[in-house]
């Protein structure tokens, strides 16, 4: 109905789409910031007492509370938190007494490096594999190949990244001594963390690509392309693939977001000097401002990935700009 109206009026659907998507991004960001802020206040009991331990003298606890501003009314704290964020102030670490923003600035590049490399690996491996498998198993051909592909991808996807990491370390680093066990020094040390992070998502994405491409191949417009007697190459690359990409991206967006989160575990196995190894230590030491800051950065990263996915989707498939939520 809306589509018909827009068409009749000849109005571009881009502007409303951009507005809608921007609003959603900002609302999600606000929810994220608020959740991060509330995190400290939702902790049962006194976070400072939790963090300093039961043995801490009451006056130390009280002065720490005052220093963190925890005695002010909630709204005042919230306002201070928001204005702080705009100045790039994420608070001060309870354990090291350094600004959280410095810590994040220090650790973020390593995490981004890991996530980007893993992302590239996922795309470069999963899309071609999925396409080839779809073409080979189209119309119920090569049942054996289909079964082998599906089951191996299920198995790979079911292995959590930290276990894959452990397996890779024990096989390739400890037994065969091919790569370093940990750290982020030379490109050689990147191989295992990236593999550990990317293999699972790559398996899932390859499966999605195959299933989506197969379902696109069953569409009427693919039959039209064949009825035009286009060479198979054009049928697949020009007509089927772009349509599979749109569906794949929607599902793959979630996957990429989970890749961002997956860095936490992988970094811990490989002692990768990123945010992931920092946040776990901070949770154990109850260094709440640091946890807060890192959660915020991860969350924003995820929101950004989702935003980029939606924009790419809109560029590839103009219809997605008019799809109503």
């Amino acid at each position: 109905m809306i589509e018909v109206r827009r068409r009749a009026e000849g109005v571009s659907t881009w502007l409303p789409f951009a507005r809608r998507r921007a609003v959603r991004f900002l609302v999600s960001l606000w929810v994220l910031v608020t959740a991060a802020f509330l995190m400290i206040h939702l902790i049962p009991g006194d976070p400072v007492r939790e963090s300093l331990g039961l043995a801490a003298p009451p006056d130390v606890v009280a002065s720490r509370r005052a220093a963190l501003g925890l005695d002010d009314p909630l709204l005042v704290q919230y306002w201070r938190y928001l204005t702080g964020l705009f100045r790039g102030d994420l608070g001060t670490s309870l354990t090291t007494n350094t600004p959280v923003s410095d810590l994040i600035g220090d650790r973020l590049p390593a995490t981004v490096q890991l996530a980007v490399l893993a992302f590239l690996f996922v795309i470069v491996v999963a899309v071609p594999v999925g396409v080839v498998m779809a073409v080979l198993t189209k119309g119920g051909r090569r049942r054996g190949g289909e079964l082998a592909f599906t089951s191996s991808s299920v198995v790979l996807a079911a292995i959590p990244e930290f276990l894959l990491a452990v397996g890779l370390v024990s096989l390739l680093a400890v037994t065969l001594n091919l790569f370093p066990v940990a750290g982020n020094d030379a490109p050689g040390s990147w191989v295992l963390p990236v593999l550990a992070l990317a293999i699972g998502p790559a398996a899932v994405l390859a499966r999605i690509v195959r299933v989506e491409l197969l379902s696109v191949l069953g569409n009427d417009f693919v039959r039209t392309a064949r009825a035009k007697r286009l060479p198979a190459r054009l049928v697949y690359l020009r007509h089927a693939l772009p349509n599979a990409v749109t569906a794949t991206l929607t599902l793959g967006g979630m996957l990429l977001a989970s890749l961002v989160a997956g860095t936490v575990l992988v970094e811990n196995v490989f002692a990768w000097p990123g945010l992931g190894s920092t946040i776990v230590g901070s949770i154990q030491q109850k260094d709440y401002p640091t946890v807060q800051g890192i959660v915020l950065v991860y969350g924003a990263g995820v929101l950004l990935v989702n935003l980029v996915v939606d924009v790419v989707l809109a560029l590839l498939d103009p219809r997605s700009t008019i799809r109503e939520a």
Partner: protein, 613 residues
């Protein structure tokens, strides 16, 4: 779910799950003491016959600790799943019984939460609930909940859109009963399957948290904790880490594979189309009589299903032929077969299948792409939604006629103008969704005109269109036929559409042609009991409003259920024993009029006169 057990994967994973449950129940009873026994003589040993996976820093046997930890690991994973799934189910289904504003709040909260990966949510909640077993259970439960709520919402929305929910509402069924009696039973299966998958990921997530040291705390231990302990000395001995790692992977796989098997058993196999293989074109040289010559055409699918069973007809240059039949009659497959578009695993065989004097099988793509035009039923889905109309038309000439992109687009503009699409210069740059239904179908016809079509095959070209638009499209086909002397093969379920436009009609039933006759004789001289009944059963503007419509008892057979004898016999008022035993051939009754019926012309004429009333 039961069907899942029939696949080897489903069976294997079910066995694995059963083993896990048995271990969870009995392992602590059988080996609890051994797993807790501290042996200061054998600290941190590697694998040996006594200690399959070695010992830990207190000399405890790791293999038995892994077995005993099954209970805590599985138990916590299931507990977290249970809480998470229940929370998700409530969050996902309450919007349908809440007032609108409240439903909106819940829905958007879920939508925002679902954008964040589970692990991140779990970490967030782990901070709030504190490190430890209960904290981790709640963290994972709440991390599962949003995606489950979303799934419930999606499924509920899909079911709610169906008419039986509307019907129940009209009948006065209350919201709660609607949810419990109609919605939940219809979404239960995917929910259970996804809960199984969720249990698998809860298990691995829990292991992850314990591994990070924010899950199960000493002295309790689950696989994740054992793994974390083992990893610290992985350089010395990998076995203590690999043991629990393998346990986690196996258990996670068991849940995942069982879920997958159940899902594919529930979803069934995807429908398939096939590639055309004209297997034994006969080499008999008949005189070249038509543009399209079809003799004894069969289309079959694996499982002994043959929806087209021996169809023969000829289309001459410039002729307009109608093929009429109900769903399942094989008319559309016939159209696909004669245009070489049947895909694997479908197989096409024919004694003769010639187009333009050459066997269709060996006709080049270039010839088919320019001489044979196709128009499909649904113009909305028949265009690629991601490409501009102009480029979709132009590529025909680029590929087959060697035109440059620019020339080809110019030709596309010209052809769009030929089918009377206003402002073709602007329209070529638009996407299919910017066209109306009727215009899209014209554009589809224009696409066929990019070549020099000698035959246009139109499969239900007007079914998806409004009546007034229908007529325009039919007129356009008639015009192309007149101006370009192209032959048209028009396939339709609507006998009146065919009657208005075609020279000859082929009536199909259960994969065969049962009658072929000139259109002028359709309403006066149709003889096959199916044709006459069909004509009497469909009201038109001349139907007598006082008399009841003719009724054909029963329903047309599905391609898989065609039995011996004439397939129309079970519904035929004239059927006798012979009809139920042998299938009649299509035989010439008079010039240009063929009927497949055992009854004599006289009997049929009499019956037709009686039936028409």
């Amino acid at each position: 779910m039961r069907a899942a057990l029939r696949s080897p994967v489903g069976l294997a994973s079910a066995v694995l799950l059963a083993v896990l449950v048995l271990l969870a129940v009995f392992a602590p009873l059988l080996w609890g003491d051994r797993a807790a026994a501290i042996d200061t003589d054998s600290l941190q040993q590697g694998p040996s016959a006594d200690h399959l996976l070695g010992t830990d820093q207190l000399g405890r046997d790791i293999f038995h600790r892994v077995l005993v930890a099954t209970r805590l690991t599985i138990g916590l994973a299931l507990l977290a799943t249970l809480i998470g799934v229940t929370t998700g189910l409530v969050l996902g289904s309450v919007p349908s019984v809440l007032p609108r504003w409240a439903a909106r709040v819940v829905t958007s909260a879920v939508n925002i939460a679902v954008a964040f990966p589970g692990l991140l949510l779990a970490l967030f909640f782990a901070v709030i609930f504190g490190t430890g077993t209960i904290g981790a259970v709640l963290a994972i439960a709440f991390a599962i909940a949003p995606s489950f709520a979303r799934l419930t919402q999606t499924l509920t929305a899909a079911v709610s859109g169906r008419d039986f929910i509307k019907a129940a509402r009209v009948c006065g069924v209350g919201r709660f009963r609607l949810l419990v009696r109609h919605i939940l039973p219809n979404i239960a299966e995917p929910l259970v399957i996804n809960a199984t998958l969720a249990a698998g990921s809860a298990l691995t997530a829990f292991a992850g948290l314990s591994f990070l040291g924010i899950g199960v705390q000493a002295p309790s231990y689950d696989w994740g904790r054992l793994l974390g302990e083992g990893l610290q000395r992985i350089y010395i001995s990998p076995a203590p880490a690999l043991g629990p790692a393998i346990a986690v992977v196996l258990a996670g796989l068991a849940f995942n594979l069982f879920g997958e098997a159940a899902a594919s058993a529930a979803g069934g196999r995807q429908q398939v189309r096939g590639r055309a293989v004209a297997r034994h074109d006969s080499t008999v040289e008949e005189p070249d009589e038509g543009l399209l010559t079809v003799r004894n055409l069969h289309v079959s699918f694996p499982g002994g299903i043959t929806p087209v069973r021996g169809v023969s007809f000829t289309v001459h240059n410039g002729e307009m032929i109608g093929v009429v039949g109900e769903s399942g009659s094989g008319k559309s497959l016939t159209a696909l077969a004669v245009s070489r578009l049947v895909e694997h695993p479908g197989t096409v065989t024919a004694d003769r299948l010639d187009f333009d004097g050459k066997p269709l099988r060996t006709t080049s793509d270039r010839d088919l792409g320019t001489k044979l035009a196709m128009v499909f039923q649904d113009p909305m889905t028949s265009f690629n939604p991601t490409r501009r109309i102009g480029s979709q038309l132009a590529e025909v000439s680029e590929v087959h006629q060697g035109l440059s992109r620019k020339e080809a687009v110019r030709k596309a503009v010209d052809r769009l103008r030929a089918v009377r699409i206003p402002e073709p210069e602007r329209r070529v740059k638009q996407y299919p969704h910017e066209f109306s239904g009727g215009m899209r179908q014209r554009a589809m016809i224009a696409m066929g005109l990019m070549g020099e079509p000698q035959l246009v095959i139109a499969d239900e070209p007007t079914t998806a269109l409004d009546v007034t638009v229908q007529r325009e499209v039919l007129k356009l086909l008639a015009r192309i036929r007149a101006e370009r002397t192209a032959a048209v093969l028009l396939i339709s379920h609507d006998i009146t559409v065919v009657a208005q436009t075609c020279d000859r009609v082929l009536v199909m039933y259960a994969g065969r042609i049962v009658e072929e006759l000139p259109t002028d004789e359709l309403f006066t001289a149709a003889r096959h009991p199916y044709t006459t009944a069909l004509l009497a059963a469909v009201p038109d503007l001349d139907t007598d409003r006082e008399a009841p419509l003719a009724v054909i008892p029963g329903r047309p057979p599905e391609p898989g259920e065609i039995a011996r004898g004439c397939p129309f016999a079970p519904r035929c008022p004239l059927a006798e024993d012979r009809c139920r035993e042998e299938e009649p051939e299509l035989t010439e009754m008079s010039d240009g009029h063929r009927v497949a019926c055992w009854k004599s012309e006289k009997e049929l004429t009499l019956a037709a006169a009686g039936g028409a009333r």
